[in-house]
């Protein structure tokens, strides 16, 4: 399985993401610089975390208008799987590939800790290796992860089953305490309507083997792999 990691000035999780992809897929991903208007055909495009363009104007705003993103949007609309993590999620909402926006955390603090997530869908290319309702532990590290969309949009994405993962307690229940950033509906990650684009604030690439403290994040990469090889 061939993959690409898009690198913006200020990306800082690009290498972690590349290591995770190589470990799981067996192939080293190509690293694509933000100024490239075209790149090799790949089976998965991954947008890493970090602070692209120093978060100038809004997190992800500048990156979303970079030359490489025109090509990413074109391929996403043709059905190529695109995974955006943290800043990558912010970039995806800024391009309009995903609905809503990521705002400053409700408590105004940068949050860096492990959180529990409930997997809402398992019939997708990104989550088929998890069990429905499975509770997994993955770290978050962000200042702008407060998912917001207007009431009509929230209703639409809920009705369509576009919520991929939600922040929860260790037992899978939802409470204000399990929500690290004020996101509406405890939303931690969403799909686009077609299901080939996933954006999520938590960092699955940071927990892909026991030596790192856990392997709960591995399933996202294995799912894509399974889907493409099967």
């Amino acid at each position: 399985m061939k993959s690409a990691v898009i690198v913006f000035p200020g990306s800082n999780c690009d290498r972690d993401l590349a290591v995770a992809l190589e470990k799981v897929t067996g192939f080293r991903p190509i690293m694509v610089w933000h100024g490239e208007a075209d790149f090799d055909k790949v089976d998965l495009i991954a947008l890493p975390g970090g602070f692209s363009y120093g978060d100038y104007l809004r997190a992800g705003a500048m990156a979303a208008r970079s030359p490489v993103m025109k090509e990413v949007v074109k391929r996403a609309n043709r059905g190529v799987p695109v995974l955006g993590i943290c800043n990558g999620f912010q970039v995806l909402t800024e391009t309009g590939l995903l609905p809503g926006a990521l705002m400053r955390n409700a408590n105004l603090k940068f949050v860096c800790k492990d959180v529990w997530l409930k997997v809402e869908r398992t019939d997708t290319i990104f989550t088929n290796r998890y069990a429905r309702g499975q509770v997994i532990r993955i770290p978050v590290a962000h200042h702008d992860g407060n998912y917001f969309a207007d009431a009509d949009t929230i209703r639409r994405i809920e009705d369509n089953g576009q919520v991929a993962v939600r922040y929860c307690d260790a037992d899978g229940s939802f409470s204000p305490a399990s929500n690290p950033n004020g996101s509406i509906g405890n939303i931690a990650g969403i799909f686009n309507e077609a299901g080939n684009v996933l954006g999520m604030m938590p960092h699955p690439e940071r927990l892909i083997e026991p030596a790192l403290g856990g392997a709960d994040g591995r399933g996202f990469f294995e799912s894509v792999m399974q889907e493409l090889v099967a």
Partner: protein, 81 residues
Amino acid sequence: MKAHVHVTLKTGVLDPQGKAIQHALAALGFDGVEDVRQGKFIELKLAETDAEKARASLDEMCRKLLANTVIENYTIDLVEE
């Protein structure tokens, strides 16, 4: 010609930074501040001399980059130098 663009959060969108500023003002003894909303001010210098064309172009800039219309409103003011 110069343009002043104000970008503000839409009504109903929670503004935790505005709230924090409000609390800080209260802590400094400024009573009676009923609400604070924080936004951005962007000043642009344009080569365009036709006001109507400038406004149309600025509107497009706001929609494409300067504001995120999912959460933000914007206003455009042209300023004679």
